[in-house]
């Protein structure tokens, strides 16, 4: 090897991990890292384990604002991220791709619901709303999750908040597009009313048709959280003639939610493979349909709907026909009589790994009385005048800053689906928090681009020689199934919630599956005597004492090679023998055995608590009150 090559290799060696940067340990808490609002999941799971449901609820409410709602209908980005899912797989096949087994993460979402179901009275924990206002007026357009979050964050600061919505009640798509058998109205009302109850001025049942008219009212800031309210249409032969029996999915769901539509035909075809399609087909059953069929153009394995929602639909006896491309509507006697599909054949995958489809020429006709079209949603801003200094970009979408959520017109902010197209509730909440920070800065003349830093603490959990302040033992239990209501009655009842949720006993089982990934393995190299005890005891072989090397080489040379590149390697400085400690964070059980087996205390289990900044610290300062 050349001298220059040796020097280059020395430079390429891994630098010791900087654990003073909160990003490092935050990333180890996979669930919290994956959550757009960075909800401290392991912390609230421990509170549930202790039966402190109100505290668990408040900890959630602080970050995600709608624990009761999200505990039912969240898209749960935390669960695919959950470390437990990398250790345990279920015996049940995946509903999208039966050749794959489902991972078994902790049922984080369902535990969140337990906190909400059992929380009791939490009024005493809510932030105080100042009687003396700060003199700033903010308009929030659309009363969905994004706007409601902005309202919640701004109210404790003394803002006068005016909330507009075209519907008679707040909640946005959570009310109009999610059927009540998945999200009961009482749960929705409870959490929406809590925020409006802070003294938000509501102007419901009032459709905003001009942004200029809002701006003319002299608000200090305006937030647009109007969602993506326009369902896509399908222009194939027969569309016009059959119009009376073809319904746009989200409009259909809205009509059902407000009781405007109580009946539907006997035979229904749903076109589309997303979550809206799943809600449409199940709602149709509950409106009395006898034969409901879902058709998807692409193969099932790439359907957009969440795997569990597909599973629920199949469980209710609804066939899902994939590779069916709609060709035309059949009209008989001037009325819709069926849909003609052409079967598609998968010919391979494209550059992005998605299946490539070819028309087979084989036509299938499915007779039906009504069609529900759930093939996607678009944003629509016909009500925003184009001469307000608010620039629009591609696809007629407003130009919005990814960090500040401000449009090109200072003082006008966007968030939720209105900003960059359809996402999930939890993203809308995250947008709301960030927009609220910007709005507060803007209203007080501060620069919106300067963002507050997150807070964090790192505290030892050692209580005694073999005692930790958390339940460190690994519980090998399988994921606890959520009890469901009786199928026969539930598929005919629009209001009956299908999932019954965990009771306290089932929840007590499921909480023990959490690995407490926020309790970090903290290594102090100067104390290490390199006795190998931690390496030998580690049940998942994540600890190594080896020679330093460039990261890819180091990853390959570990006891079990670290192939999951999304997970970091925790690297120490050179130890006495010149080797380093390298820990693959991938499947660490956080059981604390390394710390128990360490004779010198070089390992310690320390709880990392991360707090995402918000406009108002009022919610955070209550944290201590309910965690006491």
């Amino acid at each position: 090897m050349q001298a220059s090559e040796i020097a280059a290799r020395a430079r390429a060696r891994m630098a010791p991990t900087d654990i003073s940067n909160p990003k490092y340990f935050h990333k180890v808490v996979d669930c919290q890292w994956a959550c757009p609002t960075h909800t401290p999941v392991p912390e609230y799971i421990r509170l549930i384990a202790q039966g402190r449901y109100a505290a668990a609820y408040m900890l959630n409410w602080e970050s995600n604002v709608f624990p009761g709602i999200l505990g039912r209908v969240c898209d749960r980005p935390c669960e695919p991220a959950c470390r437990r899912g990398r250790l345990q797989t279920s015996n049940e096949p995946n509903a999208k791709d039966p050749s794959k087994k489902n991972a078994e993460p902790v049922a984080i979402c369902r535990l969140k619901r337990v906190a909400a179901d059992y929380k009791g009275d939490i009024d005493g924990f809510l932030p105080e709303i100042p009687v003396q206002k700060n003199g700033k007026r903010v308009a929030l357009l659309g009363a969905g999750p994004a706007s409601l979050t902005v309202a919640r964050d701004l109210m404790p600061l003394g803002y006068h908040v005016v909330l507009y919505d075209k519907d008679p009640k707040g909640g946005g798509l959570m009310r109009t597009n999610i059927p009540s058998f998945r999200l009961p109205v009482e749960v929705l009302d409870d959490e929406v009313d809590r925020i409006t109850g802070f003294g938000v001025e509501t102007r419901f049942g009032h459709e905003v048709t001009s942004l200029k008219s809002i701006l003319d009212e002299g608000y200090d800031a305006v937030f647009v959280g109007t969602g993506a309210p326009r369902g896509k249409d399908l222009d194939v032969p027969g569309r016009k003639e059959a119009a009376a029996n073809i319904h746009i999915g989200i409009d259909f769901l809205t009509s059902v939610a407000f009781g405007h539509l109580e009946k539907i035909g006997k035979r229904i075809v749903v076109i589309g493979g997303g979550n809206t399609a799943m809600d449409c087909c199940r709602t149709a059953l509950r409106l009395g349909a006898e034969a409901v069929t879902v058709t998807v153009r692409s193969p099932r394995k790439v359907m957009k709907a969440s795997e569990w929602e597909i599973k629920d639909a199949i469980h209710e006896g609804i066939p899902i026909l994939d590779n069916h491309a709609p060709k035309s509507f059949v009209i008989e006697n001037g009325k819709l009589a069926g849909v003609v599909f052409e079967k598609m054949i998968e010919t391979g995958v494209d550059a992005r790994g998605r299946p490539q489809l070819k028309a087979s020429g084989e036509l299938v006709t499915i007779p039906c009385d009504d069609v529900l079209m759930a093939i996607g949603q678009d944003n629509a801003f016909p009500w925003i005048e184009r001469d307000l200094g608010l620039e629009f970009g591609e696809w007629e979408m407003p130009k919005v800053d990814r960090v500040t959520f401000m449009s090109t017109r200072p003082g006008v902010f966007f968030g939720g689906d209105a900003a960059w197209g359809p996402e999930n509730i939890i993203w809308a909440v995250a947008h709301g928090h960030q927009a609220a920070i910007s709005i507060d800065a803007f209203c007080h003349g501060r620069t919106v681009t300067e963002r507050p830093a997150p807070g964090h603490t790192l505290v030892s959990q050692k209580m005694g020689i073999h005692e930790w302040s958390y339940s460190n033992n690994y519980d090998a239990a399988a994921r606890v199934a959520v009890p469901h209501a009786d199928l026969k009655t539930s598929i005919r009842n629009l209001k009956l919630e299908v999932e019954l949720g965990y009771d306290d006993k089932l929840a007590a089982k499921e909480v023990e599956r959490c690995l407490n990934c926020d309790v970090q393995t903290v290594f102090t190299g100067s104390l290490c005597i390199e006795c190998d005890a931690c390496m030998d005891i580690c049940p998942v072989d994540c600890i190594n004492f080896i020679d330093n090397a460039p990261e890819d080489e180091l990853r390959a040379s570990l006891r079990v090679p670290a192939v999951n590149a999304t997970q970091d390697i925790y690297v120490s400085d050179a130890l006495k023998t010149g080797r380093i400690m390298a820990k693959d964070e991938d499947v660490c059980l956080h059981c604390g055995l390394c710390a128990e087996r360490c004779p010198t205390g070089a390992w310690d289990m320390q709880k990392f608590f991360y707090v995402e900044p918000q406009a108002s610290s009022a919610c955070h300062s209550h944290h201590n009150a309910y965690l006491r």
């Binding site: 020689i465 049940p539 079990v560 499947v587 128990e596 360490c598």
Partner: protein, 352 residues
């Protein structure tokens, strides 16, 4: 002591051996030794060696005497045969077991007290008889189980944790084993698995008496700055007579290329080989006298000679000496072992 037991959950990508087992399948129950004990590292090295050699656990017998070290068989090979015997009596129990069933792999674990004091006589005769076994001494120079009194292997220069001087010279078990006729003698350090694991594998493959003296710091009583059996001391004074050891399974080809003149290979009875790299040129591991000299010279220089110290590749074992039957005795039915009075009469008649 640890209150939670090691979870059975393991890394999903943990390697599997030819028997479709992971190294976790070679573990025993949870160690109750002090946190950081060198013995636990040796335990881990035995587990790793047996895993890598694809040994079926039910063909291994692990035997021990009394002491911290002798507790360890509980912590490895949970599915093997085990015998925790009387203090210092592991060699006789192993002899008995080996005589009855020569087909098992015998791993005897003992400590410096168990071997160099109460069991010294038993040790000497097991070596002399060339019993086919791997004899591992977990050597920490003190009696950890009874508050750290000096053992017979503690160096004279090494005081107790409280500063008390050691009045006696140490017994060097490796020199003794070579003198008494052991065919395979090595020394290693619990903190150096790269050296220890191939040595254990070669010792298990060796037919005859294979002796390993493994220095294993007692974190509680003998890991203080003045100790010669501490992690720091052994690391600073470790003189490996071969810089790197590679154990090569019988069916494996030697794929690594070595610099000429710096390697030597020891072929073991089962066809496996131990490749010794970058040899210390002053050391001839096939010569008993030279091996003893190497150990003594290093000791005089304040060094600890480690690695494969001596090997006799053509040695016999006790069964060869006694000309026992090829079939293990425990597989021969009683009717054959004890053919009855008629057969005895026949034999006696031959001498009349």
């Amino acid at each position: 002591m640890t209150y939670i037991t090691k979870p059975l959950a393991h890394h999903p990508a943990l390697p599997r051996n030819a028997l479709d087992l992971t190294r976790r399948d070679y573990e025993g129950s949870m160690s109750t030794l002090c946190a950081g004990c060198g013995h636990d590292s040796i335990t881990a090295a035995i587990i790793e060696a047996c895993f890598e050699m694809d040994l079926p656990a039910h063909r291994i017998a692990k035997l021990s005497g009394i002491g911290c070290s002798s507790k360890t068989p509980t912590y490895f090979l949970g599915r093997s045969h085990g015998f925790n015997s009387v203090h210092g009596r592991m060699p006789s129990v192993t002899t008995g077991a080996n005589m009855a069933n020569k087909d098992l792999v015998y791993i005897g674990v003992s400590g410096d007290g168990d071997t160099a004091s109460i069991g010294l006589g038993q040790f000497a005769h097991a070596v002399r008889r060339k019993l086919n076994m791997t004899y591992i001494v977990m050597n920490n120079g003190c009696y950890g189980l009874t508050k750290g009194q000096f053992s017979a292997t503690n160096d004279k220069s090494s005081p107790s944790k409280k500063g008390e001087a050691n009045p006696f010279d140490a017994i060097d078990l490796c020199q003794m084993a070579i003198q008494l006729g052991a065919g395979f003698v090595g020394r290693s350090f619990s903190g150096d698995k790269k050296q220890l694991i191939p040595l254990i594998k070669a010792a298990i493959s060796y037919k005859g008496f294979a002796f390993l003296d493994v220095i294993s710091p007692c974190v509680t009583f003998n890991n203080h700055p003045a100790s010669t059996k501490s992690f720091d001391y052994v690391r600073a004074h470790n003189h490996a007579v071969e810089n790197k050891l590679d154990f090569v399974e019988p069916q494996e080809e030697i794929t690594i290329s070595y610099e000429a003149g710096t390697t030597a290979a020891v072929t073991l009875h089962d066809g496996s080989r131990l490749i010794l790299n970058k040899l210390d040129h002053g050391h001839d591991f096939r010569d008993r006298d030279a091996a003893i000299m190497t150990i003594r010279q290093n000791a005089n220089d304040g060094q600890v000679a480690t690695g494969l110290l001596y090997v006799n590749e053509t040695g016999d074992d006790l069964h060869d000496a006694l000309q026992t039957s090829d079939r293990p005795l425990n597989e021969i039915p009683v009717s054959e072992l004890c053919p009855g009075s008629k057969a005895l009469e026949g034999i006696n008649a031959r001498f009349r």
